[in-house]
């Protein structure tokens, strides 16, 4: 019994309520929200201090009955891997809130309240251990996102929100049907007690919902417009954190609870993941704008992580968790950088950009550093993650490894194209001479993310070696994550 996890969920939600009513100016509300999100990071660090990484079972848990006749309870807690994903979440959310504060979003009261509410909901998804509670948080994420994209988004935002909501609601309602049937069959909704199920229908209900969220080919139809029309920091949250809810769901629910269907459908999922990986990389290579590159690379990376998850061995699971954290940090940084570039040049189109490195050393350094990590250069943390995943999936068949390796080459191609399109070559027509280097506020947002990435590059084993307590991921998951 520990309140820490509950505090992690409720602190941002309480902060949201405070922001909604506090009699402050927009700037004051922004600083309040930034403060809350930083305290959230501090709470997470406290949780890490209290966590026993040698123990693979649920920790810092708390359970209170919610309604007893259907055996539903408020049950939260963290495993080692969820602790890392939560950490990534709170760091990225803090960066995004601070970025929103720095650019001075209008209608600040609503904006910051929604961002904080979103933080609470996402942390809830990663810590809920009761299926109904998990679903509640999973859906609750959508409420602030709908408004955040729809109000602060670009010109095509109405269509984008509609697409996004229709896709995700369809997926999550299929999941709701599956949850109800599964829970009533088991007689409890408590994830730690639910036994394995062999039903293919239930399995598909969950997989479709998570595949839409991740997203996985061919259910990624919402992705292009949503990521392009959202404000940059919301895109960062979407691709860095929200999409991870889908991958987390696969890891927490699908793989431990449906061993039979996972075994039967492994090839299908590996094929879909490979298609996402290669197709996403090719689209990223052809994308006309910087954000396009980043968003399609997200599709590609989601494919890679699913490849690791369905490799079904220690290497794959460890690599997938590491890569979830890596990609969260990388794609959030890249989307924020895209936003910073767009602010200066009022466009993200690569053919109108170029030559921004000259006279802007900070921008050049940050873009280059994040970009190089993103393309998984050896010694970077992304390289460690991808290597583990490929080594894991290689055990399923050498050809999966070949596809993954080919995609790594493609990643280098699209990332270098994007970097040189922004920084190098001739000065683009959309780049005004007066465009400033990164300001202190922007650096304060991106540099911490970059520092996290560099730290992980130095010691990727911090996550990959401490995600499942004692490094036997496969056996822990095979027991259904008790």
């Amino acid at each position: 019994m520990s309140w820490l996890t509950t505090i992690l969920i409720l602190l941002p939600i309480g902060g949201a309520l405070l922001v909604a009513i506090a009699p402050l100016s927009s700037y004051g509300l922004g600083s309040l929200a930034a403060l809350v999100s930083l305290i959230e990071v501090a709470v997470w660090i406290t949780a890490v201090g209290k966590f026993d990484f040698g123990n693979p079972s649920l920790q810092l848990s708390q359970q209170v009955s919610w309604f007893a006749d259907l055996h539903v309870s408020y049950y939260v807690g963290v495993y080692a891997f969820s602790l890392w994903i939560v950490g990534m979440t709170v760091v990225v959310m803090a960066a995004c809130v601070i970025y929103g504060w720095w650019v001075g979003r209008d209608r600040g009261r609503a904006y910051f309240a929604l961002m904080l509410m979103l933080t609470g909901a996402i942390v809830g998804v990663f810590t809920a251990q009761d299926l109904i509670l998990f679903y509640a948080f999973f859906e609750a994420m959508l409420i602030p996102l709908y408004i955040l994209i729809g109000v602060w988004g670009g010109p095509g935002r109405l269509r984008a929100t509609q697409l996004f909501v229709i896709y995700t609601v369809v997926g999550s309602l299929l999941m709701l049907a599956a949850i109800i049937v599964y829970g009533l069959q088991e007689g409890t909704f408590n994830l730690t007690e639910m036994g394995p199920s062999s039903s293919t229908w239930l399995f598909l209900g969950f997989v479709v919902a998570f595949a839409i969220k991740s997203p996985l080919f061919p259910l990624h139809g919402w992705l292009p417009e949503t990521y392009r029309e959202s404000p940059p920091e919301v895109s960062a949250v979407l691709s860095g954190v929200v999409s991870k809810a889908g991958l987390y769901g696969l890891l927490r629910i699908v793989i431990p609870k449906f061993p039979g269907p996972v075994h039967d459908w492994r090839i299908v999922l590996l094929v879909l993941a490979s298609i996402s990986l290669v197709y996403g990389a090719l689209l990223a290579f052809r994308a006309p704008d910087f954000r396009g590159v980043v968003m399609y690379s997200s599709l590609s990376q989601a494919g890679l992580i699913v490849l690791g998850l369905f490799a079904g061995n220690d290497l794959g699971f460890d690599g997938a968790v590491l890569q979830i954290v890596n990609h969260g940090l990388i794609s959030a940084s890249l989307f924020l950088i895209a936003g910073m570039v767009e602010r200066r040049c009022s466009t993200g189109e690569l053919r109108l950009l170029g030559g921004m490195a000259r006279g802007r050393p900070a921008l050049a350094t940050v873009v280059m550093a994040v970009g190089v990590i993103a393309l998984a250069v050896p010694l970077s943390t992304a390289f460690a993650g991808e290597f583990l995943i490929l080594a894991g999936v290689f055990q399923q068949g050498w050809w999966w490894g070949v596809i993954g390796a080919a995609a790594m080459v493609l990643a280098a191609m699209y990332m270098l194209r994007a970097i040189s399109g922004v920084l190098h070559q001739d000065v683009g027509p959309a780049v005004p001479d007066s465009a400033l280097d990164l300001r202190l506020g922007e650096l304060a947002v991106v540099v911490p993310l970059l520092v996290c990435l560099l730290g992980l590059s130095a010691w990727p084993n911090l996550i990959s070696g401490h995600a499942f307590g004692g490094n036997h991921a496969q056996s822990v998951i095979a027991k259904g994550l008790p």
């Binding site: 309604f67 006749d69 209608r107 859906e139 929100t161 509609q162 109800i180 009533l184």
Partner: protein, 488 residues
């Protein structure tokens, strides 16, 4: 000398108290005028409903074991008490919504008198224990509602709506009456218990009678395909009247339907379960699809109420104790959301002086933060999103369907919910995602009326909607106590 049954005044008290309030309101109409009348009428109306609410609680608390009383004419049990309590609460909030409406002075107190009379009728209706009291209650509240629908002679469409409601409603009542006559004809019994005991379950005449009774009640619950009056009447009636109709009438009709089917026709369960499931699916399909193309917000909400009836009918089709609990629980957030949504529409209507459409809702969420957020909550609740009781309600309904072995009803419900996302979120989209600059219609001038009373009503509805998500256990305990009165 004919022996008269013992009269249990306490069991009748909620309905009689409200009837007394209606009489008092007619006195208010005679003895006061102007501002005093407005204040007094609303106060007496609210007091009447609050009194009925309190008396229903007393009856419920003092009736651990329910039974049919007074020659099997009415029930005194917790099931009826819970339904009465909900109806009374809806009436009280409807008074709060009505307060700011620009009624003609000469009809003001009569309006509240009719509202109280309709509430009294529903409260009597939900405790009906035989076919005679059932029909009496039904006509009692229906006639009051017909008049209320047509009461605002300045409102275009109000009279038309009243007439439509009268004609279609009369067809519904007549069908119910005919069905009752058939059932009485074959069994020779009027009271629900005796009909079941008479044992003519497989007689064709009884089955036809049962079908006609279901149709008659489905008219009142506005379940498709018996919902034809709903969009026109909801749109044409003054908005406070619509708010009361959409919540209280549904509570009364659905509560009585469940009781009647379980008590009087248990042997025909295999038949009526299918009939109810068919009506539920039709309502879900029709209500949600028709709502997609509507532009008038009241019409959207009318079709939404058809689809919500479909969800509650799923609980009836389940015909198990979880189903009773699910339906009773569903009614709590549903009536709050429905009342609240129409209250917000009423506020916008008063501000614009024109019918509310999706277009002229633009920017409303930013102009009136409290009402905007409330509407947002109601729409998410109707959609069945978490953080509102609507989610728990749908969860219970689907669980009941699964427990009854009809998982395909879950699939139908889930598909219906997917479709409904478009129009429920469409209202949110109008309120928040478009700017006031896109407004088609300039507000009537000056700052909007403050409407503290209406806002208080909306706030109560929001609290109920949200609290029913968190405090599920106490509410479910109440519903379980009520459900134990039914023979299941």
């Amino acid at each position: 000398m004919i022996a008269t049954p013992h009269v249990d005044w306490l069991a009748l008290s909620p309905s009689l108290e409200l009837l007394g309030a209606a009489g008092l309101l007619l006195m208010v109409a005679v003895f006061t005028s102007g501002r005093t009348r407005k204040l007094c009428a609303a106060a007496v109306g609210f007091g009447g409903f609050a009194g009925a609410f309190a008396l229903a609680i007393v009856v419920g608390a003092r009736t651990p074991d329910g039974a049919a009383i007074m020659s099997d004419s009415i029930y005194r049990d917790r099931y009826a008490a819970l339904a009465q309590l909900l109806v009374a609460a809806c009436g009280a909030i409807a008074v709060l919504i009505s307060y700011g409406e620009q009624w003609r002075d000469e009809h003001l107190a009569e309006y509240y008198a009719l509202l109280a009379a309709a509430g009294a009728g529903m409260i009597f209706f939900v405790q009906a224990a035989n076919l005679m009291t059932l029909f009496l209650g039904l006509e009692w509240f229906s006639i009051a509602l017909y008049v209320m629908t047509a009461i605002d002679i300045d409102l275009i469409g109000s009279l038309e709506a009243g007439l439509k409601y009268l004609i279609v409603g009369a067809v519904g009542s007549a069908t119910l009456l005919f069905g009752s006559a058939l059932v009485y004809g074959i069994t020779g019994e009027l009271s629900f218990n005796q009909i079941a005991a008479a044992g003519h379950a497989h007689d064709a005449m009884l089955v036809v009678g049962l079908a006609m009774i279901i149709v008659g009640l489905a008219f009142k619950a506005s379940a498709a395909p018996f919902h034809m009056w709903t969009p026109d009447v909801y749109q044409g009636a003054p908005t406070p009247v619509t708010s009361f109709m959409s919540s209280a009438t549904k509570i009364a009709a659905l509560a009585v339907t469940y009781r009647l089917l379980l008590t009087a026709f248990p042997a025909d369960e295999h038949l009526w379960r299918w009939a109810i499931a068919a009506i539920a699916c039709t309502s879900l399909a029709w209500g949600n699809i028709a709502a997609l193309v509507q532009k008038n917000v009241k019409r959207i909400l009318a079709y939404s109420s058809v689809s919500q009836a479909g969800f509650m009918l799923i609980a009836i089709a389940a015909a198990n104790s979880l189903g009773v609990r699910a339906m009773l629980f569903y009614l709590i957030p549903y009536s709050a959301m429905s009342l609240g949504a129409f209250a917000v529409v009423a506020a916008r209507e008063r501000e614009l002086g024109a019918p509310v459409t999706l277009d002229n809702l633009s920017g409303f969420g930013w102009e009136r933060p409290l009402l905007g957020i409330s509407m947002w909550v109601f729409m998410l609740g109707m959609l069945g999103f978490p953080l509102t009781g609507g989610f728990i309600a749908k969860f219970y309904v689907f669980s009941a369907a699964y427990e009854a072995g009809w998982w395909w009803l879950i699939v139908v419900g889930v598909i219906a919910t997917m479709i409904s996302a478009y129009f429920y979120l469409g209202i949110v989209r109008s309120m928040y995602l478009r700017d006031a600059a896109e407004l088609q219609l300039a507000p009537a001038g000056g700052s909007p009326p403050r409407e503290v009373v209406l806002q208080a009503g909306v706030l109560i509805c929001v609290v109920v909607t949200v609290v029913s998500f968190f405090a599920v256990q106490p509410l479910i305990d109440v519903c379980r106590a009520a459900a134990s009165s039914l023979p299941i």
